[in-house]
Symmetry: C2
Subunit: 514 residues, 2 copies
Amino acid sequence: MNGAESLLETLVACGVDTCFANPGTSEMHFVAALDKQEGMRSVLGLFEGVVTGAADGYARMAGKPACTLLHLGPGLANGLANLHNARRARVPLVNVVGEHATYHRHLDAPLTSDINGFASPVSGWIRAPETADQVAQAGAEAVAAACRPPGQIATLILPADTAWNEASGAASPIAPDRPNAPSDEAITAAAHALRSGESCALLMNGAALSEAGLELAGKIRTATGARLLADTFVTRIARGAGRVDVERVPYFGEQAEETLAGIQHLILVATKAPVTFFAYPGKPSELTPEGCDVHTLAAVDEDACAALAALVDALDAQVLDPGAMAHATTGLGTGPLDPAAIATSLGHLLPEHAIVVNEAATSGFAIPAMTAGALPHDWLDLTGGAIGQGLPTATGAAIACPDRKVLALEADGSGMYTLQALWTQARESLDVTTVIFANRKYAILQVELMRVGAGNPGRKAMDMLDLSRPDLDWVALATGMGVPASRATNMEEFNQQLARALATPGPALIEAVI
Amino acid sequence: MNGAESLLETLVACGVDTCFANPGTSEMHFVAALDKQEGMRSVLGLFEGVVTGAADGYARMAGKPACTLLHLGPGLANGLANLHNARRARVPLVNVVGEHATYHRHLDAPLTSDINGFASPVSGWIRAPETADQVAQAGAEAVAAACRPPGQIATLILPADTAWNEASGAASPIAPDRPNAPSDEAITAAAHALRSGESCALLMNGAALSEAGLELAGKIRTATGARLLADTFVTRIARGAGRVDVERVPYFGEQAEETLAGIQHLILVATKAPVTFFAYPGKPSELTPEGCDVHTLAAVDEDACAALAALVDALDAQVLDPGAMAHATTGLGTGPLDPAAIATSLGHLLPEHAIVVNEAATSGFAIPAMTAGALPHDWLDLTGGAIGQGLPTATGAAIACPDRKVLALEADGSGMYTLQALWTQARESLDVTTVIFANRKYAILQVELMRVGAGNPGRKAMDMLDLSRPDLDWVALATGMGVPASRATNMEEFNQQLARALATPGPALIEAVI
């Protein structure tokens, strides 16, 4: 077998069975090896941002890495923004990047670039084998590195001759590291704070937001009155009926300060102390209230659920009611077609075990509240602020969970970044319903322009924040990529179109003109 | 004035009057400053690959840099592939990247990333001012650095507080370096080779391919019988009636070897010795024939036209006929709709002084020959192999040259990478006619899969090289972004649609289903 075949066989042996790909000439032996490796599914994306975002969404839902296949430095470059998001999501991801043959690199052919340089800002691990014999072992190490808690991007750079030369065979899987156990001191300190009678809050992300983690957190809340908070943007959270609901730290700093005000002990579970997304002139960047003690119950690489369980034990809260949500919605949204009415309908119509991918930006502010009592679902956020994550992540989540409906809530400006994901949804017949919130502007920037004190904008400035002239026609765009689409201009149309899309398997897109 | 205002005023004073932008919160003061700076045009792209590719196309046609405005590391990352192409094109480009406020960076907010790391592989110059007072001078230096011969990418990283804090004023322009003069030794050696009676060829790129450079090269050919060759992919070349035509080094190595066979003296003018685009098992990567002497008449940073003029003088060829092309076309293409017939029609219908942007890939092989005798035009190639350059580059070229028709020849696979460029063409009413060669596959990869000896591909491999299931509908995609579009399924339709688009100002797209 050649190096590429040894890599594919190794990856499959390590449990990696899905490859999101956009290959080029230097990756042709990898592509040919896909044919021979029955255990590996390969999914084509027509742009690399789709490939990497899909690998992120896959990892969030499958709980294990997919691999990518990218074409040299520029192919990697096109996928970097969603790798940035995946890095922030702390998901495992094996990022395979083709490279010129080892003896061709020094010639500086047109596609030659510093692949290591491009990969470094997003990768926790990078290797570039120099011989075919090293490829399989590097593949096994890449999977182990990707799975190192809490999860990271492992980039494997594959020179073409290491793929086509004869290799000695596959490598054995390497047992992945387990997350570190939380320290007894951290648990004792958190329990002490929670028993102090002072105002306490748990701020959570990562595994703490799984159904099991939240149930434990709910028991702690019942036992102590502590507030339960989650980061503004989370990798994945279990929500809806039967799950413990948590408050989110709001996006805007002023609101976040209000939410956090009065907390005397902030207990971090798989996250860091809160900071604002951006700096604003004359406003604080750090959001921890003055005088508040910050306790790290579990660092991001530690076992958050074990830490919460130990804390439940320390508080003798094992048998307490976690205070899960009842199923409760307020019916279909009515009145004008706007984000609030849409949020109401989403809560009412969301199917059981749906996967909600949220890149709705300003149009999505009402949705968390209106879906808290919906049927149980998982919710995935834009974790790194690099817009263009939603449609690809929805694509990858649908590949990971073929039996669940995926609902992608997408701002029009963000959606345009990686709209090519719709084609992959059509080719793979993925069960994704996309709602485009077509407000025809970068609405967040119109707010932010004011908030940063940049003055009264004129036409030239506003043109940079505006998606009109011409209006985007998302029905045409989706149809052009093979996804059935419709446009809603009032709530009756929206409700009907959403109900139909959610009831029909396969991809569909609704442009909500708000 | 604040730092952003001082930067804008400096850029305009330095002759930079066009900004291709996709801003975010951290760039809002720059956006607000755009309003106050009448000398700067700002053009919105809905994806950063559009922004950077447009800046490349603009520079190729304007002969001076535009600036970009990109949002932090991920915004830069999305623009990197076309910056890679711009680097290979050796164009001047001022790449402005927003950054978190200096005091916010260490907090590792979600959008924080290693911007310097992302920028390094494509940038010849990088600066990140730490105070508002440093911004204007850094801007002036960025322009000078961008213009350093032959042209390069100067990346200016702009922390938000350096944009919003008070600055002391604009900086003065810095006189750009002139290209180095070619050495007398190089001219003497080239003249000696050309007079030797042995087989000689000039291999050219850069300014050598301007109308003036080619005329000089033509005189050298007349005087000595030397062959005139250009690189496979060139930044810009003057072509058509009245211009001196040159042979291109073919893309495929075997054909390139054939083209170069027998050359005893290869004289390089603003380029390097030829190498294959990719490595292939058992085949050479270097294309210079064995025993051939390689002479560098002008290095890439030297004045290629001055070198050619000096060589003309040395050969006493000043008054010789350069052998320019006569105007000659073979009428409209007929028969089945295929790349050859389309190429024939393109040669016949190409308007005078059109700008041809070529990213037609395998569908474009016949076009150079069929347009050699067309009306005079400029031709821009995909220089760095990172597909997705054509539509953005056409956009930027149209901004630079509002009085000239731009014809973008675009492969469907490549076009999908940065299709958002069509929206910018619509918003700015740019005079761009796009022809999509819709063969519904990555045809080059189907060829390359065989050429690299990757074996007989099965269905799973071929699926990765195929754009069907579903077919892309380019008429819908273009219409969805406000560009009038039509589909041609035979040559009669194609000829009619092309003639109409070329006769009508404004953007138009023709999907040629080949």
